[in-house]
Symmetry: C2
């Protein structure tokens, strides 16, 4: 069993979920694209998951606990579990990744979790 898995996302599709396809164990990640003016029709919060939104195209508005945050390509948002949230595409439409992770679960990263190998990659 390989130590990795790959899939391809069709960026024109409304929503692609990666958890089951890639057999993720530490996150659910979805890719989402909304046409201009379209709003996800419900406000929601989470029980234990932190969400990180990574906006890669377009513009829109993000509703967070009653506050409206303007968003555009390149913006990134952390949203705590309890925050009541909703999203609406602007005039350009809006494409983004939403990363769900268990709040407080990361213990180490990068320099304290990475191990440099003596192997040299032969590309």
């Amino acid at each position: 069993m390989a130590n990795f898995a790959k899939t391809s996302i069709d960026f024109s599709k409304a929503r692609t979920e990666l958890h089951d396809t890639l057999k993720l164990t530490g996150a659910e990640i979805s890719y989402n694209t909304l046409p201009a003016g379209v709003e996800i029709p419900f406000v929601h919060s989470h029980k234990e998951n932190e969400e990180i939104y990574l906006f890669i195209e377009g513009d829109g508005k993000f509703y967070a606990d009653g506050e409206i945050v303007e968003i555009k390509k390149g913006d990134a948002l952390r949203v705590d579990p309890a925050c009541a949230r909703c999203i609406k595409a602007g005039t350009l439409g809006l494409s983004y990744f939403c990363v769900q992770v268990k709040s407080g679960s990361l213990e180490h990263f990068t320099m304290s979790d990475g191990v440099i190998s003596e192997t040299k990659a032969q590309f």
Copy 2:
């Protein structure tokens, strides 16, 4: 203290790390962009973190345990902690997010972690 935080990534910058800026608690997420032909010069693995690579522009090659995987815009990869990995941009350059999460940490997500609110967002 707001239940959310926002930053803006300059997609032309080589690397942007979000953990400290957004005060993430369940992930480290970095945005990376490599010019054509450029290779990250070391192979590495992780102690406990699963990584998910989300390729948003360009093309390249991913080295995983000695195997060379062709990658392009729209591809997504899960890499287990022990996998020895490295990356090289192709002729188009390569831009991607790398999401680090603790392997096995996600307990619930989406339908079993989300809570629909009766609030209606006023955009």
